[in-house]
């Protein structure tokens, strides 16, 4: 039973990571949003699986909240924003696509390296997925620093949060529900703040290309 459980966990984590890698090679913002939506669906499914095998009923609630927030509400808001800005395509990023993919591969390797002691210490059947979660965190961080459009950076940030949630679920069978809810609220608030910022940026600069931000407007 445990081996099935750990297989499913690793499988789910790999899927979550692959959806994260989509950000690096697709160009259309719509594809980013869809990838984020699917990633959240897989993540919430994985949380439910951990809840089932770990016998922790609170985690079901967390999985449900995760699905509602990240697979329905936030993608819808993102799509509305994308529509409003007519920001269909990401500009040429700072690092070109093949290089950033290779860098992402190296970052995942690095994720394996730094989670080694963690995996060695842990007794949980979910431990094999932790390096992949750490890899996703590093890759999303890289997306945030290497892309030019504010909208892409927001998707990168949300994926970073997904990576952290995955790490928490796999590493400790989820944090207490109250903390989990606090985190969700934080994500939503952070997202709304970023949305307002983005509308402001768009209004002032008529573009959400952050390259424009280092020029004074008068």
């Amino acid at each position: 039973m445990d081996s099935v459980f750990s297989q499913v966990c690793v499988l789910g984590s790999s899927l979550v990571l692959i959806f994260g890698l989509t950000l690096l090679w697709r160009r259309s913002v719509t594809a980013y949003i869809t990838a984020f939506q699917w990633q959240s669906i897989v993540l919430s499914g994985l949380t439910a699986v951990v809840a089932y095998f770990g016998g922790d009923h609170e985690l079901y609630l967390a999985a449900g909240a995760l699905a509602a927030l990240k697979a329905v509400v936030i993608p819808r808001l993102l799509r509305r924003m994308e529509h409003r800005f007519a920001a269909a395509r990401e500009l040429q990023p700072y690092v070109n696509t093949p290089t950033s993919l290779v860098i992402a591969g190296l970052l995942v390797l690095f994720g394996y390296a730094i989670t080694r002691p963690l995996v060695a210490l842990s007794q949980l059947p979910t431990r094999a997925g932790m390096p992949l979660a750490m890899g996703l965190v590093l890759v999303s961080l890289f997306v945030v620093i290497s892309r030019k459009k504010a909208l892409t950076q927001v998707v990168g940030f949300l994926m970073l949060e997904n990576g952290l949630a995955l790490l928490a679920v796999l590493g400790t069978y989820g944090i207490p529900l109250i903390v989990e809810l606090g985190v969700f609220l934080d994500v939503l608030m952070g997202f709304l703040v970023m949305q307002i910022f983005m509308y402001q940026i768009h209004e002032t600069f008529e573009s959400i290309d952050i390259e424009q931000l280092n020029r004074l407007r008068h």
């Binding site: 690793v10 499988l11 093949p98």
Partner: protein, 313 residues
């Protein structure tokens, strides 16, 4: 003894089935696009017709142009002897492992590109240069993806990899296998000239790759090249189907298990052909400059596959 008979039978089966697989993909694609489509056995008719046609060779072509179809076809047929299609273990497992398979496939590609350059037509040179670009990017990924499996099996021998996955069915769902499957699938599309990379349905278009190289060929030479291309597709389908989901492969070499092996093989081919047909209906061809990006995606997937099967051993 029976092993050698089976080896030959397997190669013959691959040669016979290959045009059918191509026809099946074309037919499914036509149905998905609301066309009636040519029947599945249309490629057999085309081959038969081409073998009867006269050969026209350019005045500028050298002996290389005449020799290349035989090298291409010969390398494709030789590969079918080393790839587990119906049964493992087979006597030729000891002769060639996955490296032999990868480089035999590359040998065919190399000669085809030379033949494209040889008559000096502008299309041929263009196709050859594109094919070489793609082959140079795709070849390491093929090796890397199969290495991911070889690492968990502890051997680069394709037969042993299959046997190992058979004895550990859970391993088929490990991240190493899945990532390697995705990587190999993308590369298979690139190597066999399928849609996001090359459009198999076009002729005389500026974006073509495979068709541009074989534009000068006619008659039986063209038939050999087209047949070899079909066999190559079948080889990649067998690698995808049998290395990752080895269920159904005969281990005992009895008639009953062999019959099961043939049936499951056909089912796997049908599933993969369906996947390719759906994919080709859903997506458009990539711009040539985006192809290296797609291939680096598959390279990274292969790299991650090797990493995870190395670290999670």
């Amino acid at each position: 003894m029976i092993g050698y008979v089976l080896e030959v039978a397997q190669a013959a089966l691959a040669l016979l089935l290959a045009p059918g697989v191509v026809g099946l993909i074309r037919w499914m694609k036509a149905r998905l696009q609301n066309r009636r489509g040519a029947p599945v056995w249309q490629p057999y008719r085309e081959l038969a017709k081409l073998f009867q046609k006269e050969v026209v060779v350019s005045n500028n072509a050298s002996w290389l142009f005449r020799a290349a179809p035989f090298v291409v076809f010969g390398s494709a047929v030789t590969v079918t002897l080393f790839v587990p299609i119906l049964a493992v273990p087979l006597p030729f497992d000891g002769v060639g492992d996955l490296l032999v398979v990868v480089y035999l496939l590359l040998l065919g590609t190399f000669f085809l590109s030379l033949a494209g350059l040889d008559p000096g037509s502008p299309f041929g040179g263009m196709g050859a240069s594109r094919e070489m670009t793609i082959a140079a990017l795709a070849e390491p990924t093929v090796a890397l993806a199969i290495f991911a499996l070889a690492l968990s099996a502890g051997s680069t021998n394709l037969g042993q990899i299959v046997a190992r996955t058979m004895s550990h069915p859970g391993a088929a769902l490990s991240p190493g296998h899945l990532l390697a499957f995705l990587a190999l699938f993308i590369v298979a599309l690139a190597e066999t000239g399928r849609l996001p990379i090359d459009n198999p349905a076009t002729h005389l278009e500026l974006t073509m790759i495979h068709e541009a190289m074989v534009l000068e060929y006619s008659g039986r030479y063209l038939a050999l090249i087209e047949w070899a291309a079909a066999v190559k597709l079948l080889v990649f389908f067998s690698l995808l189907g049998n290395l990752f989901v080895p269920a159904g492969i005969s281990m005992a070499l009895t008639p009953a298990t062999l019959a099961i092996a043939v049936v499951t093989l056909l089912a796997k081919f049908a599933v993969l052909a369906g996947a390719v047909a759906i994919l080709e209906t859903r997506i458009a061809k990539l711009r040539l400059f985006r192809v290296p990006e797609l291939l680096s995606v598959s390279f990274v997937l292969g790299l991650l596959a090797v990493t995870s099967s190395f670290l999670l051993r």
